[in-house]
Symmetry: D2
Subunit: 261 residues, 4 copies
Amino acid sequence: MTIRVTVWGENVHERKNKVVAEVYPQTMHGTIAGFLNKEDGISASTVTLQDAEHGLTAEKIANTDVLIWWGHAAHGDVSDAVTERVAEAVWSGMGIIFLHSAHFSKPFKRLMGTPCNLSWREAGERERIWVTSRQHPIARGLPDHFELEYEEMYGEPFGVPEPLETVFISWFQGGEVFRSGLTYRRGAGNVFYFRPGHETYPSYHDGNVQKVIANAVRWAHNPEARLLKPTDAPNTPVDKALEPITERGPRLHHDGQEGFR
Amino acid sequence: MTIRVTVWGENVHERKNKVVAEVYPQTMHGTIAGFLNKEDGISASTVTLQDAEHGLTAEKIANTDVLIWWGHAAHGDVSDAVTERVAEAVWSGMGIIFLHSAHFSKPFKRLMGTPCNLSWREAGERERIWVTSRQHPIARGLPDHFELEYEEMYGEPFGVPEPLETVFISWFQGGEVFRSGLTYRRGAGNVFYFRPGHETYPSYHDGNVQKVIANAVRWAHNPEARLLKPTDAPNTPVDKALEPITERGPRLHHDGQEGFR
Amino acid sequence: MTIRVTVWGENVHERKNKVVAEVYPQTMHGTIAGFLNKEDGISASTVTLQDAEHGLTAEKIANTDVLIWWGHAAHGDVSDAVTERVAEAVWSGMGIIFLHSAHFSKPFKRLMGTPCNLSWREAGERERIWVTSRQHPIARGLPDHFELEYEEMYGEPFGVPEPLETVFISWFQGGEVFRSGLTYRRGAGNVFYFRPGHETYPSYHDGNVQKVIANAVRWAHNPEARLLKPTDAPNTPVDKALEPITERGPRLHHDGQEGFR
Amino acid sequence: MTIRVTVWGENVHERKNKVVAEVYPQTMHGTIAGFLNKEDGISASTVTLQDAEHGLTAEKIANTDVLIWWGHAAHGDVSDAVTERVAEAVWSGMGIIFLHSAHFSKPFKRLMGTPCNLSWREAGERERIWVTSRQHPIARGLPDHFELEYEEMYGEPFGVPEPLETVFISWFQGGEVFRSGLTYRRGAGNVFYFRPGHETYPSYHDGNVQKVIANAVRWAHNPEARLLKPTDAPNTPVDKALEPITERGPRLHHDGQEGFR
């Protein structure tokens, strides 16, 4: 089975910033989709903020097994409607991977329920990423640590909920640490946050970073059928109760009435 | 130190539904504040949906250590601004307890990042609540299980993230189960969900239910100072790095510039 | 890739108890291996307590991707050496599934670090198993609940650590609840506990139970290479530090000396 | 209420190693008990490996609310009987704090169910400890990070289960990271692991380290009554079932018979 990946790119700095355009002549999302398309069993396409509905139409979402999100300068331009559509798709079973500055994207904050803040420094310093969960599927084929010579620093405290698993922790040259790989589940959807990828550095050209993202795609993919109504709260009538019961006491609702929301 | 509790009541059914008014002549929020005020070290007040800013002004929130939330019929009438204010206060360290149908309240959904849905049946059936985490502070003084003879059924799957701890699980006469006591942490704030409390039944007059809520208040209370800026993402300049580093490579940001959000 | 499963059977009641022999004429482990061998990509064999080294020689363990454990009457007859070998294999990446009364087996208690106790009643009562984690790989293809008309009751509190995920919760006719499907990770190994399977009832002939066990095999399988030395605590010499440092201060250890254990 | 703390010291290097004796003239356990006894509401005493039953008689354990464990050179000299007694006390509700090289102590490994291994280097390098869980009770009164100029390095991967909460992560001068403050619950007992404290360095004279340990004592203390039989698996007879049921099907056990263990 082929995993259908959609790489969502903000696509702002690639067009406006000469440095970024030189590092990523194929754009960032294009670069990510490019190396994923070299993987067996993965088929990746790209959409951007500037597309109609930011490229995330109901149809596109329905045909996406795993969504990858990179944004930085224009989080506020993402519509609330698309944010909710993405969240609902995750609850239904779509996998999602948030990269780097997507920690402040609307969908990530929506799914975490926390500020998702951190400290940061843009100084091209060394980052060393340690595997903390040995033989985790997302760390497949990696050494016990790897380095990115030039990266932006992200420092703790990272304002996210306790994860299911901490897969990576980063060491920074300037003295900080950061939980760089975190797994969550939201509804039927698997969520992975991965730290590297400041747009002025060539992190998405790095072989280990590419390996993590490809691994994460496979990990995040839920092959089960997408839930049709992930937010439904069904009423179970008394006469269909699994064990025989008799209705007692006062009621607010009439038979067949919907609950309050 | 006295824990300052604010009980937020939707205060709709107490006024409009005769049954509810008879079960809770002091209102539901009034009943909850009433038994909490008999506890040593707890001082509880009430506010309602109908108050200006739903009673949750910045000042009231600043003077609330633990907020208790009960709502059902009018979740949609709670303003987004107050919802965000509550979420920020939790991230800053305010404790919060969501009761029963507050599973669908805006603040709970905001903090969970999930649909928070469930199945339900209003039949006055027996609920038996089992303690699953022995000697947990929220289960203090309880037997290993207790019963509510008349309750609404809530059934799994409950659309919430994996909790830090599962403290209670309910058995229902009609054949369902439900995770009735769940702990979370969101930022510096402790969050507890507790299931019982359908408005047509006298659950908040029950001694064990009252014990759980009083215990949960003490558990949720974070005595640390409230965080002043829980959503800040501070920049750490290169010349103040903890380890001496030299700036390298291209930059997006100027010195002293704020990050994108 | 074929997943190599070893089903470990205590094989006591099948030989000594007429009822059990009639319910499981192919033995319990034989029955489990039998339905697994009908699955694509799974190859299952059986070993028993009575085999040399209980069938779990170093070679057999090395050739097992997922071990399934059922025991009840003779937990104490399992040697500590084999228990440690199993635990080390799990830390190295072998998956393991504990069924029913294996909650009190030596390997389960070893891996949990807790008493693993529960309450119980043998009355042939109805058990209804609810899926609490929608679209979880272990719940693949299941309805939202299923029933076993005759089962032993296991009741909370279940003396285990908080799991990574709660996948199933059981309702019992006599009034109890139980967390029936729990996931853990221990080292590189995935661990699943699944409740049903009292030996006098035909639970392992039930299609849904069989589906859960087959799903769990796929979930527990870690395709990564087994760790060679899962308990090693390597010394990293100063002259091989990743960042240049100078040794300072007093030392306990000489160069190349092993650490204390 | 006064929290009764017992500090367990291995007490080997203090007597045999001149460096350690000079850094800790009052011994390590004596130093720890000393600063704890300056705290309001804490009363600390010490016992050592060399005492009868390592100082952890049934009576001493019964009168200990929180046990602190430091050991390094002589883990193997701790008897299995005392290890089990400690584990049972934790399951009953005794708090326990493991310091530094106690990661390889028998009680820690017993409670974790994992190898508890790590990488290490003894070079007197700088450690910087970051708070990852803001306003956590164990981080009370701490800055967002603090430094120990001379420490032993411990590096990831740390062979422990996913914790309830990650409270601290360390940065090391030589390039490693480590999860330095981790919380667990085992039965009714709270467990905290805290990394610093190599015996040749003065870490337990550091004010921030002392603050963490005092905070952890208060966090780990479970004021509930100790469970009397934390490993019991009680049978619930059919005629005392909470809901009326009739015994059906074949049985293994006679009325009143104990279960297998």
